[in-house]
């Protein structure tokens, strides 16, 4: 696959000091300066060191589903303001601001499509919308996408990226944890696969509900995943956190994740799992599996 091929050694930083900044992207991990376009083609994975930058929500739909197969559901759904919440800003103003910034009505894209021809329900969180916080709309859209999977008898996949609950919806945001978990209980009863893909960062109420409830929990290298945020923990225990704490590798080691998968292999990797769980034959072109593949 073209985007997977290693590119030529990029120029050194000083050679392109005069070029416009928005053309280049500096990898925060290896400090290599790479054509932004190269990052894009590579699903925001550094072509040099495979460091995973965050990927916009809509790109996960493209990454995971067969081209042109996606039908979005509930794109127009908006949150109310059940508490008439006002901090330094009114909640409806925050929502309007986030909507202008992202072009989206709330922090989740949901719908259905096909993944290597397997019909699936898919929900992807958008971290750029109020920190991917879960309020009524995220909860309701997940419940609906889950029920769609139930009705169609298809697997359900959720890509999480969230700072936690939407505080401005108070108790209703907390209750979305119960609501989304309840719909997953129904999928469980119906014997349908649920795959949770936890991306950087997934914390708080989202981790403590659907994100941890996958039949298979998958993450990407280096993703931050936790219940409490690192700062809260540091303040509580009054000591610095160890290196790598709450990273995907840490969670894998402690038994909370099934796999860490390179984003560029994510679709193929999930499709293999789905075919196992749905008792579908392996495709004839499929390569022999290896413990790390």
């Amino acid at each position: 696959m073209a985007w997977f091929r290693k590119t030529k050694t990029p120029l050194k930083a000083q050679d392109r000091r005069d070029l416009p900044g928005d053309v280049w992207e500096k990898c925060p991990s290896c400090n290599e300066i790479v054509y932004r376009e190269k990052f894009r083609e590579n699903w925001n994975v550094c072509p040099e060191c495979a460091h995973h930058l965050r990927l916009p929500a809509l790109d996960y739909v493209r990454l995971l589903l067969d081209e042109g197969s996606f039908t979005e559901m509930d794109a127009e759904m908006r949150s109310g303001d059940p508490l008439s919440f006002e901090d330094l800003k009114k909640y409806p103003e925050r929502l309007a601001q986030a909507e202008r910034k992202t072009g989206r009505r709330d922090a989740l894209i949901s719908g259905h499509g096909r993944m290597e021809r397997i019909p699936v329900s898919l929900a992807v969180m958008d971290f750029s919308f109020i920190g991917g916080s879960m309020g009524s709309v995220v909860g309701e859209k997940i419940a609906r996408a889950g029920r769609h999977a139930l009705e169609e008898g298809t697997p359900f996949i959720i890509v999480s990226a969230s700072g936690g609950a939407r505080m401005m919806e108070g108790i209703f945001s907390l209750m979305q944890m119960a609501k989304t978990s309840a719909v997953l209980a129904e999928l469980d009863r119906a014997g349908l696969p649920f795959i949770s893909l936890l991306t950087d960062p997934t914390t708080g109420g989202v981790t403590a509900s659907y994100a941890m409830l996958g039949d298979v929990n998958i993450s990407e290298p280096g993703a931050l995943i936790g219940f409490a945020g690192p700062r809260v923990i540091e303040q509580t225990i009054k000591q610095e956190l160890p290196e790598g704490f709450q990273r995907a590798e840490f969670l894998l080691e402690h038994g909370m994740l099934d796999r860490i998968v390179d984003r560029r292999e994510m679709k193929a990797s999930i499709a293999i799992l789905l075919r196992h769980m749905l008792s579908l034959p392996a495709p004839e072109t499929s390569e022999t599996g290896s413990p790390e593949g």
């Binding site: 108790i171 944890m177 309840a182 403590a208």
Partner: protein, 321 residues
């Protein structure tokens, strides 16, 4: 914290209580008849309590909910239930004493009772981790809910926690996974389930034993997605705005009843639950009885369907359908 602790807005109450104590002591020592004075002081106390407690701000309610003298799970267990047999451990790691659980009888009927447990003093609080469970606490709770389900017995939970503990070990052992699993499994239990928020309903750490057919709240308890202090620090960028956050979060029992999130409020005696734990327990006992009877009239299928409907309806979104 001293045995007799008072909140700021209880100062006047505390003064009268002290006067009563002194008078009683004096009367005993010197054999005086102080009936008249005593009656007048007790009348004064009652009206002070009424006045104070009828006009509590949300942040004051938060303080009452955290009151160091407030009845905890074991206090209610002792007063409402009989034949309590505590059961320990999650069968995987250890016994988490910030959650107590076991078989008990409600009016003679065997039920499972599970609740957060805070400590009264520093020693107890170290043992109980201030009522903040680790994953093993939630796993113990789930194990015992499943045990109740096996024998078709109802589950009562009592919620009183600042939150699930945010620490290294808790993260390592999967705090999020433990909470999440409880939410999913509680949604699917085939027996009647009733939760009552008796003090602090602290976010996911509270909900992890709170996905039930009925949600009850003591009049001065609170239930919130985040503490007012935490909310103020994030949204107001200042922890000192916690009173504003407490109001905005709509975390009191009347607020949550109005929002349709909870099913019923249990009235507390004048002066709050800590002023008269026996009367409080009696009031709770009555409501638990009624609520259980109501749920027992439903088939497992009806229970399941109603529980799903209850949680699926939570929230506000547009268009609604």
């Amino acid at each position: 914290m001293a045995t007799v602790a008072h909140l700021d807005f209880e100062k006047a109450i505390a003064e009268v209580e002290e006067q009563i104590d002194r008078l009683r002591h004096m009367a005993r020592e010197k054999g005086l008849d102080v009936t008249g004075e005593m009656e007048s002081l007790e009348g004064k106390l009652k009206s002070l309590q009424t006045e104070t407690y009828e006009n509590l701000d949300p942040i004051e309610r938060v303080q009452v909910a955290r009151h160091p003298r407030r009845p905890y799970t074991l206090d209610y267990l002792e007063r409402i239930f009989t034949d309590f047999v505590e059961l320990h451990g999650d069968r995987m790691y250890r016994d988490d004493e910030s959650i107590v659980a076991g078989w008990a009888r409600l009016d003679g009927e065997s039920v499972m009772v599970i609740g957060h447990q805070k400590g009264r003093d520093m020693k107890e609080n170290l043992q109980r981790n201030f009522g903040m469970p680790h994953p093993e606490g939630y796993r113990k709770a789930l194990r015992l809910m499943k045990l109740a389900e096996k024998f078709g017995r109802p589950v009562f939970t009592m919620i009183d926690t600042p939150g699930a503990y945010p620490g290294l070990g808790a993260e390592e052992r999967g705090q999020a996974e433990a909470i999440a699993r409880n939410l999913r499994e509680m949604a699917a239990l085939t027996v009647p389930t009733i939760s009552v928020i008796i003090g602090e309903g602290g976010s996911g750490g509270a909900l992890a034993i709170g996905v039930t057919d009925r949600i009850l709240m003591m009049e001065n308890s609170v239930y919130s997605v985040i503490s007012p202090e935490g909310c103020a620090a994030i949204l107001w960028k200042s922890g000192s705005e916690r009173d504003k956050a407490a109001t905005a979060l709509k975390l009191t029992a009347p607020d949550l009843n109005h929002l349709g999130v909870i099913d019923r409020i249990i009235k507390e005696p004048t002066g709050g639950a800590h002023a008269d734990p026996d009367a409080t327990a009696e009031a709770l006992h009555g409501v638990l009885r009624e609520t259980l009877d109501e749920l027992k009239s439903l088939s497992p299928e009806e229970l399941h369907e109603q529980r799903l409907e209850k949680y699926f309806a939570m929230g506000e979104w547009h268009p609604r359908s």
